[in-house]
């Protein structure tokens, strides 16, 4: 077995784990903007728990995609082109969601905020669903021909696994976000998040378990089956801890679940990176899809230095912003009196500015 492609398969699994762990909760917080928050202050509390970190979390996705391109170009090319339309939806969702975070508070109007809230909620949902579906399909199979191209029409990638993966990540993100909010907020939001979490977590992990077990039936190994069991233990632990009010440890335990989930899924799929549903001879594997050892070696050195550094400074960010956010911390949204009020740029007005009058 080739050492470097194996290392990079593991590295990519780690990057996806990091992505699902970190962006998992900020995608969930995004969806909760419309499902959980009851008023504008609630929404701002939610937003400010992830404000300083969501963009850094999203880079895990970019790095996972970039590393796949570099280490397994054929995997990247086949997966991304086969899932053209769903990934287009993910892109549109991520664009609106990102812009919405930044622009939501920039105009003091209920309508304006409401629009961006929907962009955040729907964007988070579509992104979580699409990425879950894509990961489920890469581990369960796509109709790839000998060249690695999708055969059939634009929707021929669809299978029940796509739904399992999609709902799996969406539901996980929701409860992960509730655990995160219980840990990161104070007051009403904190208590409601914890009680929602306790009530929802047993059901929310079910689609993810569906995906995990499906992959095990397709290509499981004893140790990956064991990870499924470990994942179940982690969920029970998270539930128990949350009930006992140990918010930090409950969040950690649910994080342990996602680690078990991705490890069991990628472990079971190994060494195949995309099974072809047309003919096993067309399977993309770590051997026939990977870059040269030279490239992989170079990337290994850089990643060995770079990734721990990333983890270190991202952890520091979470430390800097460790304080719980509550309604009391949210500054009032005061509109500002513009220095220049009139539309003077084009029009030919010559009256002395209205702006000197004050309010």
């Amino acid at each position: 077995m080739e050492l470097l492609p194996t290392i990079w398969f593991v590295a990519i699994a780690v990057l996806w784990t990091g992505y699902l762990f970190l962006e998992g909760f900020d995608l969930g917080v995004g969806m909760l903007m419309k499902l959980f928050a009851r008023n504008n202050t609630d929404r701002r509390v939610l937003l400010n728990t992830i404000g300083p970190v969501w963009d850094g979390n999203e880079v895990w996705l970019l790095t996972a995609a970039g590393a796949t391109f570099a280490a397994f170009p054929l995997w990247y090319a086949s997966l991304f082109s086969a899932l053209y339309l769903p990934l287009l939806a993910v892109l549109a969702a991520l664009i609106f969601r990102a812009v919405a975070f930044e622009y939501r508070g920039k105009v003091d109007s209920e309508r304006w905020r409401n629009r961006w809230d929907w962009a955040i909620a729907v964007g988070s949902f579509v992104a979580a669903f699409g990425i879950g579906a894509a990961l489920a399909l890469t581990t369960t199979g796509l109709p790839l021909n000998a060249n690695g191209d999708r055969s059939g029409g634009p929707m021929s990638w669809f299978s029940g696994y796509a739904l399992l993966g999609g709902f799996g990540v969406v539901a996980f993100a929701l409860v992960h976000a509730l655990a995160f909010l219980a840990l990161k907020t104070d007051g009403d939001v904190r208590h409601r998040a914890r009680s929602w979490f306790v009530r929802l977590v047993p059901f929310a992990v079910l689609p993810m378990f569906g995906w995990m077990v499906s992959v095990q039936f397709l290509s499981g190994k004893p140790w990956t089956w064991a990870l499924v069991a470990a994942g179940a233990v982690a969920v029970i632990l998270a539930w128990t801890l949350a009930r006992a009010g140990a918010e930090g440890r409950a969040f950690g335990a649910l994080g342990g679940f996602i680690v078990c989930a991705t490890a069991s899924i990628f472990g079971a799929a190994f060494p195949v990176v995309i099974p072809s549903t047309l003919d096993p001879a067309f399977n993309l594997t770590i051997s026939n899809a990977s870059s040269s050892d030279y490239t992989l070696g170079l990337m290994s050195i850089v990643a060995a230095v770079g990734l721990p550094l990333v983890i270190a400074y991202q952890s520091w960010t979470y430390w800097v912003f460790r304080r719980r956010v509550s309604a009391a911390h949210i500054p009032e949204a005061h509109g500002f009196l513009p220095a220049i009020a009139a539309k003077v740029l084009i029009s030919n007005d010559n009256q002395p500015a209205a702006s000197t009058k004050g309010d």
Binding site: P52, Y84, E102, D149, S292, L298, V302, P352
Partner: protein
Amino acid sequence: MDALEIARWQFGITTVYHFMMVPLTIGLGLVVAIMQTIWYRTGKPEYLRMTKFWGKLFLINFIMGVATGIVQEFQFGMAWSEYSRFVGDVFGAPLALEALLAFFVESTFLGLWIFGWKQLKRGVHLACLWIAVIGSVFSAYFIIVANSWMQHPVGVEMVDGRPVMTDAWAVFTNNTALVAVPHTLFGALAVAGAFLLGIAWYHLWRRRHDGIDVVDNNGKLVPGEAAIPGRDKSDYTVWMKSLRIGAVVAMISFAGTAITGDLQGKLMFEQQPMKMAAAEAACHDGTGFSVLSVGNLGATNCDDIVAVIEVPGILSFLAKGDFTTEVKGVNSLLGEYKEKYGTHLPDNPLYGERAGQEIQYVPVMEVTYWGFRMMIGFGGIAAFAALLALWVTRKGVVPQSKWLMRLAVFGILAPFGANAAGWIFTEMGRQPFVVAPNPDMNGIDQVFMFTAAAVSPGVSAGELLTSLVVLTAIYAILLVVEVKLLVKYIRGGVASAMPELAHPASDTDDDDKNDAGPAKSGDDVLAFAY
């Protein structure tokens, strides 16, 4: 349109759009970091105001660069899967490193900067901005290394029909990249320079227009105050300093783009002679630089073109640094290309309907000829305007002319135009290749790829059209939103980025003076909140 053409339009539109936001991010980031550094060292309040105001505009724009950047990384695989398969071994690495070493740094430390005004010590807070800005410079480096490999593929060996990296040093120090990186960075600074200049001019003009600032009998400006938060005497200093910084940055960056552009041109005459011949619409060998050529610049018939005004010797200077060397024209290059790379596309299913078609080696000359001239023209106009602006305002007075003000404001667009034209020129000039061959190698260098073979074979024209329409529509809507917000905050002035000017009750000012320590545990409100 077939799949290939749609995919090319999509890549062109999304990339040019993305590269509206990126240069402003890089250039303005650098400028804001310098402003905050001056504030940190001198404590002068106007530099804090400048940091906050320009920083706000920087962030409104930054997020658009982030959002549209994701599309860039995904669409290689989505729309150009054959390209990705062909180049992945060497092209994927800089993309992965860009994410790992630049994007993480940029996003994480910018998050710290935005939200950390109170939580971090002043020095640490400033360092976060610098680290984020340096991250953005690194990201420019990595992506240009990737692009330069398409312009000038080095450090590889062909194995089983695909280039395999054998020399990473050669890839990461590709001479094409080493000149393109500073060229691009200066281009980004030019955008920031014009941005500062135009907006500051508008505010200064408006202060006079509103009767706040008056000019006394000696022609000296007397700053005044209005009953609007932030519109005080120090506001005048903010804009005047911004204007001067902007003008100086614009001029320095034009000098920088000119010098690096000259080096780049000389390299391109060697590496892609056809691109440069097409930039000149030069059909025949010669030494003269065309100031104006007319005629049918159509790619297939070169002989219709008449150079109306030509300066002898200049083309040779651009290419070789002397005034006499004959530079090859399109017609003599055409024969060489046909001999080396064939007259017809291979009869391979990868080329779809285009298999076996005749290859058009001459890029679309309307685009290369005018793209090249627009790049230089817009850049030059912006620099000249900056020089003029410095001269006109040397006594601290912005003229009351409305037309000059409009010129300054709409002049912001000139460096954007220069950047877009430059990239369109360099990418369209590389056609029909997506990976351009190296003509200086002996015999046939197999490291090249025709664009016609690069598109995803499994993706239908319908899917591509869907994404073209969807992305273009989203981008159009968001452009309107971004410009609207920028205008709102520009009109808002400094107080729009510093609510504490309007509401002095807030404790932010004290914290700044007391060099607030990290994370006070009290129930005080966040320094910045969404």
